[in-house]
């Protein structure tokens, strides 16, 4: 029964995140045939990230950023891919989230990812500050981050926040 409960929880959170993608401020999906520099590498990274292959994803996001250093979403997912590889990468992940936000101050997913990282790093005040910002950008993500901070547990379904271009 516990497994069933956990499964339901994961599904509910994943659905929540999936549902928010369309509404996430400042990060609406771009047309499929996007030929801008770095997009192809970025999309590869998203695929890998969503399959849990974070190390390989990290490489592809770095490749994307080499071609297009202004791609906030690539910084954000790079940060996430690094964070998922372990606490030794937390500081580096944080700097990538910061860079993503510096490039795109309304990138809701970056506040979500960074808020979770702050929570994992034990910095509740900063996590809550990201939560407050998120309430202005994406209500559903804000609620999910609030639950994560309050519980101290990483929410399921965060991989699903990344989207392809």
């Amino acid at each position: 029964m516990n497994k069933m409960l956990m499964g339901l929880t994961a599904t509910a959170v994943a659905l929540l995140f999936f549902g928010t993608q369309v509404f996430a401020a400042g990060s609406s999906p771009k047309p499929k045939r996007d030929t801008r520099p770095g997009v192809s590498e970025y999309n590869d990274g998203v695929k890998l990230m969503q399959r849990g292959k974070y190390e390989k994803a990290e490489k592809r996001f770095n490749a994307a950023l080499k071609k297009n250093p202004n791609m906030a979403e690539a910084y954000n997912n790079l940060g996430y891919s690094m964070r998922k590889q372990g606490p030794q990468y937390y500081d580096e992940a944080l700097s990538h989230y910061n860079q993503a936000i510096a490039l795109k101050s309304n990138l809701a997913e970056a506040y979500m990812y960074r808020g979770v990282l702050y929570m994992l790093m034990g910095n509740e005040d900063k996590a809550l500050a990201d939560h407050r910002k998120l309430t202005q950008l994406d209500r559903k993500l804000a609620d999910a981050l609030q639950a994560a901070i309050a519980s101290g547990e990483e929410p399921d379904g965060l991989d699903g926040l990344a989207r392809k271009w």
Partner: protein
């Protein structure tokens, strides 16, 4: 060329348009027109959704507040909305089942009006009831049982109000386009507007989560929050989001699917039947899969709203936690199989959990930290008695 007086008026308009707080300050180009209501929302709260046919105005809210407490708005002049929705109890009545006109007992408990503006559906069990303007007709006009007993006595009720010069003036100010403003539709719309203003978001939890006050929760309350939002207990799955409730709506939100839950309170026939007439959504749809399904109410101010559940059958928060920890008091003896779960119809989250006495204490502390004392104080102060 702009005249100096016009320039000043424009400047005032601009200043007021940029003002986030203070719900009674706005530009007033025509003294005979109602003043637009400006929301005074807690930090991090979205703007409530207001139906286009009932825009918020200061005059309408004021009229609605007065009508809410006015016993003349009942068949025999003995009860008001506030009879079952007392501000000191976060707009509940402290009773298991509410008592309406001439002592008629309602089958269900009065729901709190805390943050009612955000509810995607209203009432305990009606997926189709989504507007306050429609919901208010239920207690006014219900005859089984009589709640406020207005059905069939509308003219008598309105006549009482029309005799009052002050009421005529208030209706006229709130609905200046109507030749005869003292009508039932306007009374209902004004009460709906007032109820939308009952926004609570200044509990210790809010000050911690939204207000940047890291010490707003004490150690026990913070530990309780950890439990509440944990995957192990999953309380937040049903009492979700900023309103700790079922689905919410607000400006710019999508329209959510209504959600109702069977929390294994009853099993009258071994197949999960609930006692009549409280069969939940089943009451509306007649479908067995809707048996015993009720809306998850907000947990804001929950410590003030005992007794609990749709029929007030659980007296305390401690007993509510025992109920959920056991997976429901009407849970079949062998709760481990999904077959019995399907048969009883209880929610799949009603699986029960271990909860130590210490954890229970912390959870209760957290639930108490959802009480917004300033909301209650303000509501009492604004009550018309």
């Amino acid at each position: 060329m702009v005249k100096p007086a016009t320039a000043v008026a424009l400047a005032v308009m601009l200043l007021v348009a940029g003002c986030d707080h203070g719900h009674q300050i706005t530009h007033r180009p025509d003294v005979n027109r109602p003043v637009g209501y400006v929301w005074e929302l807690p930090e991090g709260f979205p703007v409530p959704l207001v139906p286009p046919d009932n825009p918020m105005t200061v005059e309408k809210v004021d009229l609605g507040r007065r009508l809410f407490y006015d016993t003349r708005l009942s068949g025999d002049g003995s009860v008001s909305c506030a009879t079952c929705h007392l501000p000191e109890l976060a707009f509940t009545d402290g009773k298991s089942r509410s008592v309406g006109m001439q002592g008629s007992i309602h089958p269900r408990s009065a729901m709190s009006l805390t943050n009612v503006a955000y509810n995607a559906t209203l009432g305990w069990d009606d997926p189709a009831l989504t507007r306050l303007e429609d919901q208010i007709r239920v207690p006014l006009l219900n005859t089984r049982p009589h709640e406020m007993g207005v059905a069939g006595r509308e003219d008598e009720v309105l006549s009482r109000l029309r005799k009052d010069r002050r009421m005529r003036r208030l209706f006229g100010k709130a609905f200046p386009d109507d030749e005869q403003p003292v009508i039932m539709r306007n009374a209902i719309y004004a009460i709906a507007a007032f109820e939308r203003t009952l926004i609570s978001g200044n509990s210790p939890y809010d000050r911690w989560a939204y207000g940047g006050e890291s010490t707003a929760l004490n150690k026990g309350e913070r530990a309780g929050a950890r439990l509440f939002f944990s995957k192990r207990l999953s309380c937040f799955q049903c009492h979700a989001g900023f309103n700790f409730s079922g689905p919410v709506v607000y400006e710019g939100s999508e329209l959510p699917e209504p959600l109702f839950h069977n929390t294994a309170l009853y099993d009258e026939d071994g197949r999960g039947a609930y006692p009549e007439p409280n069969t939940g959504v089943h009451r509306m749809t007649g479908r067995m899969e809707d048996m015993g399904k009720f809306r998850a109410p907000t947990l804001r101010n929950i410590a003030l709203t005992a007794p609990y559940m749709h029929d007030g059958s659980i007296p305390t928060l401690e007993a509510v936690l025992d109920h959920y920890a056991a997976g429901g008091r009407a849970r079949p003896v062998n709760p481990g199989t999904s077959e019995t779960e399907v048969e009883s119809g209880s929610d799949s989250l009603m699986t029960g959990f271990e909860l130590s006495p210490e954890e229970k204490k912390k959870l209760i502390a957290f639930l108490n930290a959802l009480t917004d004392e300033s909301f209650v104080r303000r509501a009492i102060k604004q009550a018309v008695r």
